[in-house]
């Protein structure tokens, strides 16, 4: 039996609370972590693309979970014998409808797309044929956020989190690194309902010491009681961890939370916990802040009146390298640290 929404939310709250409670005793008010505390994740020298991790992991998982794989000419799937694989071509609406029809007849399905084309173009098919009937369809969107880079605004997907978060029943999943991508992919393929799995394009940070993710349960990966840095996705989590170090140097204890499931149910739960634990809240995401992860966290935290600084993409982005786009959007360490310090001292 799938967990009901309420029990899942409670689980999230309890988990986050438990972690927060445990960390509270162990961590000083400010400065670097005390020796002997839980290890904080560190960015490894090697970078790995979450999309590549998905490409490598899918064949075995698709066969094991008896999943129909519907592709839309993405080049992201290595079809293997034994995998039910259909490339329907450049036809996102037809692909979503196909998957929904097959699922109606009992077959779990995954649709592989570019996030920029499935989410906004096929939104109504996702809404009516996948989310409304709660079908076991996993929609994978690669090139999430600004990772499309030089491909330009046609291929950037900064609206996807807001659109998918607007849908009831939809779990919205953004792995923090390649390892989490594999684990969360499998959890999406076991989940009793619709999921959207947002992946990047090229190599992105990988973290040592990041705990195994559990769908719907945010992860407190660094303890601190002044400022909560709530991050989604590899680049933003890396930024948050670096910013936390900078804040420690400035005398602030920063808590870092990895929100790999960003829908209202999951992100909202962490928001309520954070509001009770910290004095300031900062959300970081490679997406439009209207309706993204931060908006879900803040909506839940709002009743507690915690000051909130949303950091994310605020407009259309020009064609440029992914790194340059993050910098221009104010999503890199130096810029975020400056903004956070202004926010807490004003």
């Amino acid at each position: 039996m799938p967990e009901t929404e309420s029990t899942l939310s409670e689980t999230v709250s309890e988990t986050a609370s438990a972690v927060l409670e445990a960390d509270r005793a162990a961590v000083p008010e400010a400065g670097p972590a005390a020796d002997g505390g839980p290890p904080w994740p560190v960015v490894e020298p090697e970078r790995v693309s979450t999309r590549a991790a998905f490409t490598d992991a899918l064949p075995e998982l698709a066969v094991r979970h008896n999943v129909l794989v519907v592709d839309t000419d993405t080049g992201s799937i290595k079809a293997t014998p034994g995998m039910d694989y259909l490339n329907v071509g450049i036809a996102e609406n037809a692909a979503i409808g196909f998957a929904a029809g097959a699922e109606h007849c009992g077959r779990r399905a995954l649709v592989c797309t570019f996030a920029a084309f499935s989410v906004s173009r096929a939104f109504e098919f996702i809404k009516l044929d996948v989310a409304y009937p709660r079908r076991r369809v996993c929609i994978v969107g690669t090139h999430g956020g600004a990772s499309g880079g030089w491909l330009g605004p046609t291929h950037h997907a900064t609206e996807d989190l807001a659109l998918m978060n607007a849908l009831p029943n939809m779990r919205v999943v953004v792995p923090a690194d390649a390892r989490q991508a594999v684990s969360l992919l499998e959890q999406c393929l076991e989940y009793d309902g619709p999921t959207y799995l947002r992946l990047g394009r090229k190599a992105s940070p990988v973290f040592a010491g990041l705990p195994e993710p559990e769908l719907g349960v945010p992860q407190v990966v660094r303890a601190g009681r002044d400022i909560a840095l709530v991050a989604t996705g590899p680049e933003m989590l890396a930024t948050a961890l670096e910013v936390a170090r900078g804040l420690a140097d400035a005398g602030y204890g920063a808590q870092v939370v990895n929100v790999h499931t960003v829908d209202p149910e999951s992100a909202g739960a962490v928001g309520r916990v954070i509001a009770a634990e910290c004095r300031w809240m900062v959300t970081l995401e490679e997406a439009w802040t209207s309706g993204g992860m931060g908006a879900q966290v803040a909506a839940a935290a709002g009743a507690r009146g915690i000051p909130w600084l949303p950091i994310g993409v605020t407009g259309f982005l020009p064609p440029d390298g992914h790194g340059s786009l993050l910098e221009a959007s104010g999503l890199t360490t130096e810029s975020v640290l400056r903004h956070v310090l202004e926010f807490v001292t004003c």
Partner: protein
């Protein structure tokens, strides 16, 4: 089957009695198509609507839900007495197909979805091996203006959907007028043939001809489009063949009586010549 068709039309008139009114024209044009499918062509079980080996019916033109509900009532998927609850508080029978109703497979009504869904169901049926069950999807000719129809039509051919039949109810009208006046697309049959579908044309109100064509369409290789020439509002005298029949509220007994009178005398209970009706 003529008796069934007549009964379905009477149910539709009852449903239009309110409080909401209903999509009379596009329901009436599809009556014989639905009767042929549900009483002759399709292999279905009213005692087990979700039977795994069933033929699947997708009502892509979801606004014709009244015709589907009425057919399901005649076919014993729901009680005939439920027809009178259409759009009344607490009813399962909504303006557009409601999946809470046994025999309604998908929530349709946003046009242009059914064929994509039918691609998926027919694929799953083929995976079962042996002689696969069929999927029948009913579209309107106005609906063909939705581009997603053609996206899916291309996929049907590409994946070799032998067990897929698209039935197009060509009643020549959409909400605001004649289809050819609103948007004069190429002839319907030409469009399907151009997409590589096996295409047949038939009088959509001739039950015997429909049964023969649908049987053959289900058996033949490749996706088949059955292009049905129909009359919007068929059987409803003054409204037949007019855009005005699209959505009608028959809120007085006088209006309903006038419509019933225009439907002519009840059909004598005789089976359609040479076409067996499944019990």
């Amino acid at each position: 089957m003529e008796v069934r068709a007549r009964a379905v039309r009477e149910h539709i008139v009852d449903m239009c009695s309110g409080p909401e009114g209903g999509h009379l024209g596009g329901s009436m044009s599809a009556v014989e198509i639905l009767v042929a499918l549900f009483f002759h062509t399709m292999n279905i079980d009213s005692d087990d609507p979700e039977w795994k080996q069933r033929d699947v019916f997708v009502l892509s033109k979801g606004h014709a839900a009244m015709a589907l509900y009425a057919t399901l009532a005649e076919r014993d998927f729901i009680g005939r007495e439920e027809v009178g609850t259409f759009c009344r508080p607490g009813s399962r029978l909504a303006t557009h197909g409601n999946v809470a109703v046994p025999g309604v497979e998908f929530a349709t009504g946003s046009l242009g979805h059914g064929l994509a869904l039918a691609n998926g169901t027919s694929w799953a049926q083929r995976q079962a091996g042996g002689s696969p069950a069929n999927t029948f999807v009913l579209l309107g000719d106005g609906e063909l203006q939705e581009g997603t129809v053609w996206e899916a039509a291309q996929v049907s051919r590409a994946v070799g959907a032998d067990n897929l039949v698209a039935v197009i109810d060509v009643n020549d009208f959409q909400q605001t007028g004649a289809v050819r006046e609103v948007s004069d697309g190429a002839p319907v049959a030409d469009r399907w043939a151009g997409f590589g579908w096996r295409t047949v044309e038939v009088d959509g109100h001739d039950l015997a001809a429909l049964c023969a064509v649908l049987d053959e369409a289900a058996r033949t290789k490749g996706p088949t489009a059955v292009v049905c020439r129909t009359v919007k509002g068929k059987g409803v005298g003054a409204l037949a063949g007019r855009a005005a029949s699209h959505f009608v509220l028959l809120d007085t007994e006088r209006k309903r009586a006038r419509v019933r009178a225009s439907m002519g005398p009840a059909v004598p209970p005789a089976a359609t010549k040479g076409v067996p009706e499944h019990a």
